[in-house]
Amino acid sequence: MLNYDVLVIGAGPGGSSAARFSARHGLKTLMVEKRPDIGSPVRCGEGLSKQWMSEGDIRPDSHWIADEVKGARIYGPSERKPIVLTAENAGNEVGYVIERDKFDKDMAALAASEGADIWVKSPALSVIKEGERVVGAKIRHLGSMEEVRAKIVIAADGFEAEFGRWAGLKSIILAKNDIISAVQYRMKNVDSDTDFTDFYLGSVAPKGYIWVFPKGDHEANVGIGVTITDMKDRFDVRNYLDRWIKKHPGFSKGKTIQLVTGGVSVSRVKDTFTLPGLMLVGDAARLIDPITGGGIANAYISGRYAANIAKEAIEEEDYSLDMMRKYEKLVKDKFQRKHLRNWFAKEKLGQLSDDTLDKLVEIVSDASIKEISVQAILEAVQEKYPEMVSELEELL
């Protein structure tokens, strides 16, 4: 049996953040990763915004930046003039396309440099509880079973979110309309624009979108995420993406060098994502932004919050639900309002017809809107398509 202050399950951005800041607080920390190679295989569209990095104490590094973009373009179903979001009109959501495998390894290295222990090829296979409290995990570490006891366990096991559910946390189970299935081809020899990440809305990707994220010269991640509610049969997800690519000569000539797949939660912040002695972070806590599907920044920030509460809990020897709820409060104060708004927007956008979406994109893309705000959009709609106002008011 091994004893740690903090045991972190999973070495993605959320886990590496939790391990890094726990170790920085002087806590004896172990991070375990089930895969042999941290960051690989990639399960991500690889878009990353910039504005969170100071809060995460991360410096942009050319080692993991594949492409820096000037903005994002959002296309309606007819793919005419897109909405162009830049740092000027849409704040700081714009950013980088990254190499996730390199990024994740660098994040784990930051945890290591603070003194956290790391085990790879070491899946957690079961939860150890004492009464209601989670006190560790059984880990298969390179062929041997290890019982790791920890004062605090931080589960950062991603979309699968198995550890929390094994521990008895039912609140993180997802409703069908909050589940996205995603497929992406990393393609060479495509006509992508290295200055923009592109998004395609409408019936090409029901209740989701198609994305083209440039990774440098004539290379891009071309992917789709769709809500599984609208999928009727096997292969539907891939078929939607393949149909779109086929219709776009600039991409149908491309050669796929990597197939990336995965599940994405597009949920409101859950009521609870802790148990006594256990905190869930990142995708496992369902903290992905429900409109963009982005989760890296939220995982990293929540990992830092969890480490801060781990320190407080250990100092006060208080591993109760009340202590863990201090972590939940930090997360909710940060994300709850935004994710609620974005969740409603996701639900409403998914109901709009292609025609309505086209009109909306046309209005917003109009040069007269200098700053993209709810008020500005509504006013423009009122002027051009007054009959659409009632339909959109609820959404906006």
Partner: protein, 70 residues
Amino acid sequence: MVEVKVQSEMDVDRSLCNYCGACVGMCPTDAIFMDETVVEIHEDKCIKCAFCIVGCPTGAISAEWFHAKL
């Protein structure tokens, strides 16, 4: 006499499975276990919601009962 055989067994096509874990996270009853080379669907926990079948990004999961429903 006609023998009616109810087949609930599910199948994972290993030539399609990308071992991404999407099905594990979608499953509301924790009926799917996966590591790098193994996918197991525990039929005793399965409630036939078909989240994994329509949600698998590569279409690797199938079941007799699902096609009966279509």
